[in-house]
């Protein structure tokens, strides 16, 4: 219940703007570097064969980088989705649609935040499971 309470009230926890700003930008740069690394691999290994791919994915550095990406994607997505939630699922914004709906803005935002947090954990779990199993 503590976890649910924390997740549903993230918008009232002390959060530092610059920390979020850096986290979002650095995670984006890391993800971009990962994508460039993969594209470079594909470009310089032509004609591409399955054995090359298996060899590449079995490397320790691939496992570590991909695991890091698995953790960083939810972090990056969390900040973006949290921003969207605190923009659009507020009493004021939902009030533009419907006054009664706006009364449940806190509940709707809490459920939305809870769902995408769980979703994020599932993504991390499955990616790590696939990589390391």
């Amino acid at each position: 219940m503590v976890f649910v309470d924390i997740v549903c009230h993230l918008d009232v926890l002390p959060m530092i703007g610059s920390t979020l700003f850096f986290a979002q930008r650095f995670s984006a740069v890391f993800l971009l570097a990962y994508v460039i690394w993969l594209i470079t691999f594909f470009i310089f290994n032509q004609p591409f064969e399955f054995s090359t791919w298996v060899q590449f994915t079995n490397q320790q550095k691939f496992l570590i980088f991909t695991s890091a990406v698995a953790l960083i994607i939810p972090l990056h997505a969390f900040i973006g989705l949290w921003t969207i939630g605190t923009d659009y699922f507020t009493q004021r914004t939902l009030g533009f649609l419907n006054n009664r709906l706006s009364q449940y803005a806190g509940l709707i935002r809490g459920a939305y935040t809870f769902l995408f947090t769980i979703w994020g954990f599932l993504i991390v779990f499955f990616i790590l499971f696939i990589i390391w199993s």
Partner: protein, 245 residues
């Protein structure tokens, strides 16, 4: 003839707002939108709007003119009219008091939040606080803001969180005092803006720059504030005790 659609809403008599169309003979010379409204008001005295100086100084007659915020008194009709049609609406995002008049309480609350006055606890030596011409130059493009709210009310981030996001107008003024060499409360000012909403909700959409009737650049000032918040030099001074609520 030109068709002028005006947003009408009187909370005492109307359940919902509506657009009222007026047919108006096209003037032979170019006139300002405010002059057009003044002429319409002689036909229908119930049309409500704010105006005062009629020369772009007081910032009273900010409104949404054919989809873009601006001051009616310095907007020529010829520059905004499209296919002989003109839509006049109140500034978006703020509660409507009546017709084109909006309640600017939230806008002024954000302005008050940034403490728009010089703060300096050191004693004054010779009757006034002196400033070099170079330091004075840093205030150009900042002090000219007339608080018409055209920028803040064209900003989606301000629409969604007018109670948390300070908005371009107030942030421009915040930077005006941060940049002032005579002000000694830079760290405190930055600390008050360090939460995820006050400044960081600016996503650089640039609507504020596009609509400012004085040609100012709030986005640049916001960028400067962000740079100062993110720099290591200032980070040491910013105590991380702000809470978002």
């Amino acid at each position: 003839m030109i068709s002028i659609n005006i947003y009408r809403y009187n909370p005492e008599t109307d359940q919902f707002p509506y657009m009222q169309t007026f047919e108006f003979e096209k003037p032979k010379r170019d006139i300002m939108v405010l002059e057009l409204l003044n002429q319409l008001k002689t036909k229908d005295p119930t049309i409500s709007y704010r105006r005062s100086c009629r020369e772009g100084v007081c910032g009273s007659d900010g409104m949404n003119i054919n989809g873009k915020n601006g001051l009616a008194c310095i907007t020529p009709l010829s520059s905004v009219i499209k296919k002989n049609k003109l839509d006049l609406r109140p500034l978006p995002g703020l509660p409507v008091v009546r017709d084109l008049v909006v309640d600017m309480t939230e806008f002024y609350a954000q302005y008050e939040k940034i403490k728009p006055f010089l703060q300096n606890d050191t004693p004054v030596d010779i009757g006034e606080r002196l400033q070099s011409p170079e330091d004075r130059d840093k205030l150009d493009g900042l002090y000219e803001c007339i608080l018409c709210a055209c920028c803040s009310t064209s900003c989606p981030s301000f629409w969604w969180n007018p109670d948390k996001f300070v908005g371009p107008a107030a942030l421009l003024q915040a930077y005006r005092f941060i940049a002032d060499s005579r002000d000694t409360k830079t760290a405190e000012r930055l600390q008050s803006l360090s939460d995820p909403f006050s400044v960081y909700r600016c996503h650089g959409i640039m609507n504020c720059v596009s609509v400012c009737p004085k040609g100012l650049n709030p986005n640049e000032a916001i960028g400067e504030i962000k740079s100062m918040l993110l720099s290591n030099k200032n980070k040491k001074n910013i105590i991380t005790s702000d809470k978002v609520g």
